[in-house]
């Protein structure tokens, strides 16, 4: 028996145990959620997942590439149950696979047999993907949507060009773009006054600022100069000296951001245009 059979058997055993508590159980999955999480990202990825279960019952597969030359694959699987009201419970399956050596370059061989049939597979890639590595190519080949947060990259503007090259292979989401939604709505309210905007100033993360500018340029179809200052989150936006009102409500957290992307199935052409424009501006 291989590692996949061990995982499936362990999950089946735990599901059977969960049934014994006589609480009606919904084994409902809407997707397979693959998370590429190097050890330094793992705790954050697990925290995000904890906030996702109820809205997106899924089979989650954590792929954890570890340092080391010797080939090694180790896996564990757990079933979590979550009360969803009316005395019902939803079961979510979480599989953790630690990969060392060459198996870390061939993750699809473990993901493919664990995907839930017919359902979409989303990959949340933590940190910056190794653009030329076979692990990325492998994952792109077996998933339907690739979710990154370019704010996690050391030089986002350099990564956008590589991200663009995936657009025709897989639907792509950037959480940094999703984070700017409130500010984009505020900017859109300034129409038609911003029709001939020339300069955008953003105090915020480099990625958020670049994508906000990329979005505005691609929507207005005109060159706009971006001047940004670093901040942990977007705090201030001005267009041609005019301060843009702060969006209502607080900034969405990690689970909310990811959850919103997991609702999207098709390609996001607006987001793609923003990334393309950000990449072009960076190389100009």
């Amino acid at each position: 028996m291989g590692i996949v059979a061990d995982i499936e058997r362990s999950l089946a055993r735990q599901r059977a145990r969960q049934r014994d508590d006589a609480v009606p159980e919904l084994r409902t999955s809407t997707l397979t959620h693959v998370v590429w999480a190097p050890p330094r990202w793992l705790a954050k990825a697990q925290a995000t997942l904890a906030g996702l279960h109820e809205r997106h019952p899924a089979r989650t597969i954590f792929l954890i590439p570890e340092q080391g030359r010797l080939d090694r694959v180790a896996a564990s699987a757990t079933v979590h149950d979550f009360a969803v009201g009316d005395g019902r419970e939803v079961l979510s399956e979480v599989i953790e696979i630690r990969l060392r050596g060459r198996p870390a370059e061939h993750p699809a061989s473990l993901v493919l047999p664990l995907l839930i049939s017919d359902l979409p597979a989303y990959c949340r890639w933590r940190g910056e993907p190794p653009w030329d590595g076979s692990a990325l190519e492998d994952i792109v080949g077996v998933c339907d949507r690739f979710v990154v947060d370019s704010a996690e990259w050391s030089r986002p503007e350099r990564g956008y060009r590589r991200l663009m090259s995936l657009f025709d292979e897989i639907a792509v989401s950037d959480l940094a773009f999703r984070r700017t939604l409130g500010w984009r709505a505020r900017l859109a309210e300034l129409w038609p006054g911003i029709r001939r905007a020339r300069e955008l100033r953003v105090a915020g993360p480099q990625a958020d600022a670049a994508l906000l500018a990329g979005w505005l340029q691609s929507r207005l179809r005109r060159e706009i100069t971006l001047r940004s200052t670093r901040a942990a989150r977007v705090e201030r936006v001005t267009v041609d000296g005019l301060r843009v009102g702060r969006p209502a409500g607080g900034a969405p957290g990690g689970p909310e951001l990811l959850s919103a992307e997991l609702d999207v199935l098709a390609r996001d052409r607006v987001s793609e245009a923003a990334v393309r424009t950000a990449a072009r501006s960076a190389s100009a």
């Binding site: 291989g2 499936e8 809407t30 699809a108 473990l110 995907l115 049939s117 359902l119």
Partner: protein
């Protein structure tokens, strides 16, 4: 019928059999017959086998282009690098034995005329799984199509033969909320989840039936002959050319030609 294992030291047998004789000729054609047969008048062995043989007599493949053969090359299965078929102990380095077969078949009778049956089986595929998928016809006018973000998929009844025996219905459900999004969801019934007693091993049941004299699950001579007629016709066509092997990497879902077989009909293999 997908297997993730290789030939497991059975090179002597496998080199002369290939996937078509090892699995297609018997297991797959029997599953097809069970799915396509009319309900028997009772559950007596001859009543069941009479219905199966009618299906097998009506079987045909529309031509050599409707059958794809393959042989695995090196690849990765469950995180382990595995050799190509030709590198397995006891296999000829230039072997042209098929480790994969995909075929489009028709059952020429009143019920199934013009309904394609797509079969595929292979060694060293991505996972071990035997499933029968019955895809329902598209509704004549699907009102949601223009609103669905992904192309609206037909509903599918799935009969899981192994490893988790059961039945699922894959249906398009509206995603809750104000917008109109349709997403495929599953309703699952698994034997292991609904019954406490374990299922008997396949041979356990057959040996018991043999002792009881119940031949229902055994293939009758005329069924076997009909199955071989189809297989001989396919193998005869294969003898006329030399395949370019290997043509799929271990750990994948088979050769690209098998995907093209369905794409030509505007379809695709079920996603696993």
């Amino acid at each position: 019928v997908a297997e993730s294992i290789g030939i497991e030291r059975r090179a002597g047998f496998y080199e002369s059999a290939g996937a078509i004789r090892d699995i297609f000729q018997n297991h797959m054609l029997q599953l097809l017959a069970l799915i396509a047969m009319e309900p028997p008048t009772d559950f007596a062995s001859d009543s069941v086998r009479n219905e199966k043989v009618k299906v097998l007599r009506a079987l045909h493949t529309p031509g050599p282009k409707s059958v794809v053969r393959g042989q695995y090359g090196r690849g990765w299965v469950e995180g382990v690098e595995v050799p190509s078929y030709r590198e397995e102990p006891g296999v000829a380095p230039d072997s042209s034995t098929d480790t994969y077969i995909a075929a489009k078949l028709y059952v020429d009778n009143w019920r199934w005329a013009d309904t394609p049956f797509y079969l595929r089986a292979g060694k060293r595929l991505a996972k071990r799984e035997t499933t029968i998928a019955i895809q329902f016809q598209r509704a004549p006018h699907p009102p949601f199509e223009s609103m669905a973000e992904e192309s609206l998929r037909p509903n599918v009844l799935l009969i899981h033969v192994q490893p988790d025996e059961g039945v699922s219905l894959a249906i398009g459900a509206k995603v809750p909320g104000a917008g109109m999004q349709i997403r495929t969801v599953h309703m699952d019934f698994l034997y292991g989840g609904s019954f406490r007693q374990g299922l008997p091993e396949a041979y356990e049941r057959l040996i018991l039936d043999a002792m009881l004299g119940d031949a229902t699950l055994f293939t009758r001579e005329d069924e076997v002959e009909e199955q071989w007629k189809l297989v001989d016709a396919i193998v005869g066509a294969w003898r006329r050319d030399t395949p370019v092997f290997p043509n799929y990497a271990a750990g994948t879902w088979g050769p690209a030609a098998a995907d093209e077989l369905l794409h030509r009909d505007g379809r695709s293999w079920r996603r696993h």
